[in-house]
């Protein structure tokens, strides 16, 4: 096989591996990113990005990120972008007369950027900015006349600064080294050109800042939002950005040491380095525990309760946020009382997480409050999560939740405002149109499977929400709507998880209005335990229908001495409330 086709085959394989990774191993990171932006097809939205250096890259990045809603489409976008970057680096290298044997090394910048994209806070706009720069460098390297090349750099400085932010300096850096290597211009000419280019490069951002840009100087120079936190640009970004210029020159110099242009050993050696290095880099960059939480959260957002339970059955979740999603899924499927202790539980933090000033936890915790009927709290959490976004973006998921909660609360004017925004999006337009149609008819809202129910469940009396008194809040909620089974199960779960059997026994009779066919397993376990421990003489029969299985297991549990972590305890009793009561701190 000829080398020119080998390098293309390499790019294809590289792209396929990237696609496979994001589509099948890491899809929920893409869904996670999509929800924290809201790309609007509107002139004002474009203007808001265009008004800032690097904003065009951010705008383009956001445009493509909206398609992350379907993670396989996102995987294609990332794969194509990384392959384009690799091809651009290789093209530039070849223009520098790098030997074709070095094609695997041209993947280094793409590989490193892939590593960055494993972190959910690195945004696609950064990669787009790099592609713009690579595109300009490619164009520059095509130009044959030295004078045209120099003119091109001058014209490109303001254009590229506006498109890609401070990364435009790479073009200058590349051009400077390139012209020195080419030696097509006189030293004096080159010096004058370089000085003018350097002055332009310094003056344009500085003037923009002093004349009309209301951004901190640092942000003006960096421009594009590579990272969700604009004040912190990790050094790794700088290294990758510079590598786009360094790699072609490095390959050019390496080529000088190679006589043969078809050394199979060298290609194989490079491929091994790239594959092993890539594996090391990606395996260390990917955070599969976050991916798991994101998977739980995405399924929660999409109301795929059965999938959440199926995930937990395969591997029990251990982080508070994934346990939160699981508990909600169990409650939605009427299984919380029955099966909650089949899975890992650790206190109330995995049931109703406390408010934290960030954009992830309130979004997940808000799901719980929403489905419980704490509509105002769910609204607050969605609002706060969106406000906490450090890159000042709007969140499509939060806007949807704000629209929903306002519809449930009957605040149609403000709901309409949010829905009109969603009508300008690609994926949420249809949903917004339906919501607007539903909103016009009170009967349709009442019949809506979710909004109608939550409208019945939400609090009718006003009180100040107290996060520290969740049990009391749940009690008030259930008292106002005795058919709100989720509120009851959360109330009971609260008492069980806090090991407050006194209140458990006090609230248990409230279950009458819910017409349980049988007492859920964990309630039976708690009831039986409470009964046995308070009626030690055994003179009276327990007044609840406890199954014989539960009674027998408890007797065995009581007789079994040992430590909580011994295999027998774990295997036989870790799915019981008694195990939680005794051994989980």
């Amino acid at each position: 096989m000829k080398y020119f086709s080998l390098d293309k085959l390499f790019s294809l394989v590289f792209g396929l591996v990237v696609f496979w990774f994001f589509a099948f191993l890491y899809p929920f990171h893409l869904n996670y990113q999509e929800q924290y932006q809201m790309f609007l097809f509107s002139v004002d939205y474009f203007r808001s990005f265009f008004a800032k250096p690097g904003g065009i890259s951010d705008y383009t990045g956001n445009f493509f990120t909206q398609f992350y809603f379907y993670s396989w489409v996102g995987a294609i976008i990332i794969a194509v972008s990384l392959v384009l970057l690799q091809r651009a680096v290789w093209f530039i290298s070849r223009k520098l007369e790098a030997k074709s044997v070095f094609f695997p090394l041209s993947a280094i910048p793409s590989l490193m950027y892939w590593g960055l994209l494993c972190d959910e806070n690195y945004l696609l706009g950064g990669l787009i900015a790099l592609l713009w720069v690579a595109g300009f460098i490619t164009t520059y390297s095509i130009l044959k006349s030295a004078k045209i090349r120099m003119l091109f750099v001058w014209i490109s400085i303001p254009v590229l600064f506006w498109m890609a932010g401070g990364a435009f300096l790479l073009l200058l850096l590349f051009a400077f080294v390139y012209e020195i290597l080419k030696r097509e211009s006189k030293i004096a000419e080159l010096s004058v050109w370089f000085v003018i280019s350097a002055i332009l490069s310094y003056a344009i951002p500085t003037l923009c800042k002093s004349l009309f840009l209301q951004y901190p100087l640092r942000e003006v120079w960096i421009g594009t939002n590579y990272f969700r936190f604009p004040v912190n640009i990790p050094i790794s970004v700088g290294i990758i950005v510079v590598s786009v210029v360094v790699i072609p020159f490095a390959l050019y110099y390496l080529s000088k040491f190679i006589r043969k242009d078809n050394s199979k050993t060298l290609i194989a050696g490079q491929l091994i380095v790239i594959v092993l290095g890539g594996y090391f880099l990606i395996s260390h960059s990917a955070d599969m525990s976050k991916e798991e939480v994101m998977a739980y959260d995405f399924n929660c957002r999409m109301r795929r309760w059965d999938q959440i339970i199926a995930m937990a059955d395969k591997k029990t979740p251990t982080t508070p946020l994934s346990v939160t999603c699981l508990n909600l899924a169990l409650a939605k499927e009427d299984l919380l009382g029955e099966r909650m202790f089949n899975y890992f539980q650790k206190g109330i933090g995995g049931l109703m997480p406390d408010f934290v000033r960030d954009y992830t936890i309130p979004m997940i915790a808000g799901e719980v409050y929403y489905h419980l009927g704490f509509v105002n709290t769910a609204q607050r959490y969605a609002f706060e999560a969106m406000e906490a976004l450090p890159d000042y973006q709007k969140s499509s998921r939060a806007i949807m939740r704000l629209a929903e909660t306002n519809i449930i609360n009957g605040n149609y004017a403000v709901a309409e405002k949010y829905l009109h925004l969603l009508q300008k999006t690609f994926y949420y337009k249809h949903w917004a149109n339906n919501a607007l149609a539903t909103m016009k008819d009170e009967k349709l809202i009442a019949q809506h499977p979710e909004w109608g129910t939550l409208r019945k469940y939400r609090t009718q009396e006003d009180f100040l929400f107290s996060e520290g008194e969740k049990e009391m809040m749940l009690g008030v909620l259930f008292k106002q709507a005795r058919t709100n089974r989720i509120a009851f199960e959360y109330l009971m779960a609260c008492t069980l998880l806090t090991k407050d059997l006194k209140h458990f026994l006090q609230y248990f009779p409230l279950s009458e209005s819910l017409n349980y066919r049988a007492i859920p397993k964990s309630y039976q376990e708690a009831l039986y335990y409470a009964w046995v421990t308070t009626n030690k003489d055994g003179s009276r029969d327990i007044p609840y229908p406890i199954s014989n299985g539960v009674k027998q297991r408890f007797q065995l549990f009581q007789k079994m001495p040992g430590q909580a972590n011994t295999p027998s305890y774990k295997n036989d009793y870790s799915d019981t409330y008694w195990y939680y009561l005794y051994f989980v701190n």
Binding site: P216, E219, N376, N409, N411, V414, L464, F465, V476
Partner: protein, 518 residues
């Protein structure tokens, strides 16, 4: 279809009515214009005729209802120096044509579902029609059918409103804030300038910007954060002041300038936010302690009285009277919070202030007794002519922006008479008001449109003290409010622009050391 039927209730089909309209217009022009301007008028008339003969309204139906304009500019009183009142129609027409007719001249504007009135023509039309009215006729093509709606008027007042309006742009959130900007809008056109931007000041919170004497050369706002302080602008010189002296509850919070510019009166508050669980409520913010202080900006000295820092009463929202001889403030007896939040009711009180000596008087008078009146007062603002006190009344508490029942009231300080401003107040919160320097206009933040997002509304008070129907600050694109996710907080009027911008504030924040009050 139903919507159309509703709109066209009692509709009369009038095939000739556009021609009649043009005929009347031509007659008026011929009758009302002098020979000197006759030529000009005929040209304009011919233009209008051509406009209509080139695909203009035909077979027009006449509706006896007002057009569904947004913002609601139907029959409002406007100052002669306001920006064009661009509007849109909410019934999604394909085309609209609007004629705005004064006593001599008129403007014709066309659009799809919204119009943008040309600035220059608008300004001259307003000045020509000061203390008169403009007649607005709206034609709309809805479902391929032209409708002429009932005409409405814009009453142009010769009394100008102060040209500059500052406000804080912020998302109406709970505890977490994102981007906050203080902006200054020239209300005569659509120019807006950013005075402070928290993106330039490490994301710190900034409170609202207020002017002294309605003059851009005297203003202040609190910039929070590690390097923050109260930013005082005096003739463009910016000072950063740490307003928390030893023994004070907090930094300065709500405040006002003395007419001399030397003093500022402030409350110091321990502020607690809590979330309402009920659908119609949102956030409750209350003080668990609050006191009053006067700060002498010349000496950086804090002046107070023991009864103004009494732990048994809360004092807040202080302002100086127009002559600077009194401090008006809100006061409430302490209650157990949050349990008794609904019993927390603030009265309006006043205490004397001697600017010469820099002394607060000893006797407190009550002007509005919460116990008797059955409400709670917030945000006092004395009119510059000394005649009125404008304030917000809520059922309870001290944070009206999330109280739907929050309404403005106007007290005549000479007679004690109270106007409940029924013509002015909307169904949601109306609060955070500011007077124009001529005391003929005031601006206030109203959430009447959707209950969440506050917008600045202007209201005219005529010589007899009667308030007129308010109108919202015009925007170049009337749809701007629909898509904006910001609230306009604490709109404050000034006759002149402030002499600083966001970059100056950035410098003060990062470089300038804060002065410490004693």
């Amino acid at each position: 279809m139903n919507h159309r039927v509703k709109i066209l209730r009692e509709v009369v089909v009038a095939n000739q009515n556009v021609r009649d309209f043009l005929g009347n217009m031509a007659m008026k022009l011929l009758c009302e214009t002098s020979c000197f301007s006759l030529c000009n008028s005929v040209v304009k008339m011919m233009f209008v005729f051509v406009l209509y003969s080139c695909g203009g309204p035909e077979n027009v139906k006449i509706s006896l209802e007002y057009p569904p304009v947004y913002p609601d500019y139907i029959n409002v009183s406007i100052p002669q120096n306001i920006a064009p009142l661009n509007f849109l129609l909410r019934n999604h027409p394909e085309k609209i044509q609007v004629s705005i007719k004064g006593k001599a001249d008129s403007i014709m504007v066309r659009g799809n579902h919204k119009i943008e009135i040309p600035q220059e023509k608008w300004s001259s039309l307003l000045s020509e029609n000061a203390n008169d009215s403009l007649l607005v006729k709206v034609f709309a093509q809805v479902n391929a059918e032209w409708i002429l709606y009932k005409s409405f008027k814009w009453y142009v007042k010769a009394d100008k409103v102060d040209s500059y309006l500052s406000y804080r742009l912020i998302e109406p959130g709970y505890e977490v804030w994102n981007k906050i900007q203080i902006a200054e809008r020239n209300v005569e056109n659509f120019d807006q300038r950013i005075l402070a931007d928290n993106n330039l000041t490490s994301g710190s919170c900034m409170n609202c910007h207020i002017h002294g004497n309605h003059d851009g050369k005297l203003s202040m706002f609190h910039l929070r954060g590690e390097k923050g302080g109260t930013i005082l602008n005096k003739n463009g010189q910016l000072r950063k002041i740490n307003t928390r002296a030893k023994g004070m509850l907090s930094n300065a919070v709500y405040g006002d300038f003395h007419p001399s510019g030397r003093y500022g009166v402030f409350s110091t508050n321990i502020i607690i936010p809590e979330l309402h669980a009920n659908r119609s409520e949102r956030l409750e913010v209350y003080d668990t302690a609050s006191d009053l202080v006067v700060i002498d900006f010349d000496s950086d000295k804090v002046i107070t009285k023991p009864f103004l820092s009494d732990s048994t009463t809360f004092e807040t929202f202080p302002v100086f009277s127009a002559d600077g001889k009194w401090i008006y403030f809100c006061s409430a007896p302490k209650v157990t919070l949050p349990d008794s939040i609904k019993s927390l009711k603030y009265s309006i009180c006043k205490v004397a202030f001697d600017a010469e000596k820099g002394e607060i008087g000893n006797n407190v008078d009550t002007l509005w007794n919460a116990r008797k009146m059955g409400g709670s007062v917030c945000h006092l603002k004395a009119s510059p002519d000394g005649n009125y006190l404008l304030y917000t009344v809520v059922d309870y508490g001290t944070f009206p922006i999330w109280h739907r029942e929050a309404d403005l009231q106007l007290m005549n300080l000479k007679t004690g008479e109270i106007d409940k401003l029924n013509q002015v107040n909307g169904p949601n919160s109306d609060s955070y008001h500011s007077w124009s320097s001529n005391s003929r206009w005031f601006v206030f933040a109203s959430k009447r449109d959707d209950g969440i997002y506050g917008k600045p509304y202007f209201c005219y008070i005529d010589a007899s003290g009667k308030a007129h129907k308010p109108f919202v600050l015009p925007q170049r694109d009337p749809e701007a409010y629909d898509y904006m996710l910001k609230s306009f907080n604490i709109p404050d009027l000034s006759a002149t622009p402030v002499p600083f911008d966001a970059k100056d504030i950035e410098k003060v924040y990062w470089v300038q050391a804060a002065e410490q009050v004693k």
